[in-house]
């Protein structure tokens, strides 16, 4: 099987250059590629267009890149938890395109599945529809939305094998599988890297063909945004 293993985050992101378009998996701080984000911060690459459901918080996730002014444009569905983000947005330093969450996911799917555009009713009649083609099917209006075209997709999985096959854990799956399919170059960081053959082919969520580089990450913080619990009785 083709070996996709690279030494670590620095090597994995080696050719992400100023001005690249980069997808980052995760929902909130759940399932985000922590190691690659750190490496992007260290590398200091700038003027990135980031496609991700959220923009992290002030001191974690994509927030770390915002803090260093590495992001030129953010494409997301919800960016609420980040004061520095708000400051940059209001001062005009940061460009933001907000799109419906399902549209975000489906534009990734479209890229991964070789569909140049998809139809969704989300946003019909709202400012999201401005400038977009509206088409009626069976009495209902839909917007035509285009597949994303991202230079890189960076995803986080639970387990991966040397052939690039990925398995996600619980709701840290979220956008990771669809973004993994959507990058021209897809980079996967995993909590545990295993030899090809150690994963059950039936349980693979992302087939290795979609993954170009894989490495075992380290030091995962997995920060919890809203720690909600109930008393033990």
């Amino acid at each position: 099987m083709i070996n996709k293993v690279v030494s670590g985050a620095a090597e994995a992101i080696r050719d992400i250059a100023d001005g690249s378009t980069v997808m980052l998996g995760g929902f909130g701080l759940c399932g985000i590629p922590e190691n690659c984000i750190s490496a992007l911060v260290s590398k200091g690459v700038k003027d990135l267009t980031c496609i991700s459901n959220n923009a992290g918080v002030d001191d974690f996730g994509i927030g770390l890149m915002l803090h260093r002014h590495q992001v030129k444009k953010m494409i997301a569905s919800y960016v609420g938890e980040n004061a520095e983000f708000e400051r940059q947005l209001l001062s005009g330093e940061l460009e933001v395109e907000l799109i419906p969450q399902g549209t975000l996911a489906t534009r990734c799917l479209a890229a991964g599945y070789g569909m140049p555009a998809i139809f969704t009713p989300a946003g019909v009649g709202t400012e999201v529809a401005e400038g977009k083609e509206v088409r009626n099917f069976n009495g209902k209006d839909y917007l035509m939305e285009y597949a994303f075209d991202a230079d890189f997709a960076i995803v986080k999985a639970w387990k991966g094998d040397t052939a690039g096959n990925l398995i996600y854990r619980s709701t840290s799956r979220n956008f990771n599988p669809v973004m993994a399919m959507a990058g021209r170059i897809t980079i996967a960081e995993v909590e545990e890297l295993v030899p090809a053959g150690a994963l059950d082919p039936d349980q693979v969520h992302t087939p290795g063909v979609y993954v170009h580089r894989i490495f075992q990450g380290s030091g995962y913080e997995k920060r919890i945004e809203q720690r909600t619990v109930r008393p033990k009785n």
Binding site: F27, Y78, Y168, S170, T171, N174
Partner: protein, 219 residues
Amino acid sequence: MLDKNGIAKRIAKEIRNGYYVNLGIGIPTLVANYIPDHIEVVLQSENGLLGMGPFPFEGEEDADLINAGKQTITTLPGSSIFDSAMSFGMIRSQKIDLTILGAMEVSENGDIANWKIPGKMVKGMGGAMDLVASAKNIIVAMQHVNKAGESKLLPACTLPLTGVRCIKKIVTEMAVLDVLPEGGFKLIERAPGVSVELIHQSTLGKLYADENVPEMQLD
């Protein structure tokens, strides 16, 4: 006049056995607390979970298991996990029977505004636009009037829209209302102690009320 829990309690009565339900953030989340034990429902969280369970016991939080509000949660026997494309796929294909969400404004033709206030920091629509555009059955949980006492049930929304002609039922601190297909709010129930007159005064959009409007039964 109902409090938030009262609104949630009233909405819970709309939930039928066997429903798959998506609950938005805020009052809708409270609805889960009032679903009777004999009603079997499955809660969807649009970040990729069917079968959302209660909050974890203290010390058992799992950073990989959150809901769309980023809260730590649990799964239940029979839960399933999927990616965001499938999650919104099942929303668009109307496999989710009921969506409950909040609103800042609803218009008499069923438009809803709940994501953006011009001049204020815009956080984003998240999944709300997908949900309102796709759901076959949406209940809005909202305040009838703002803090200044001005109606949020309007002839037309003044805020940027989240979706058009999609809302069919509204539960507020004062009333249960349907949005009529031909336009206009139809008063279905009054909150305990709230008069039809007060509801009329609090509703800027067209309001239709029969002579006798029953009071809500909350138990």
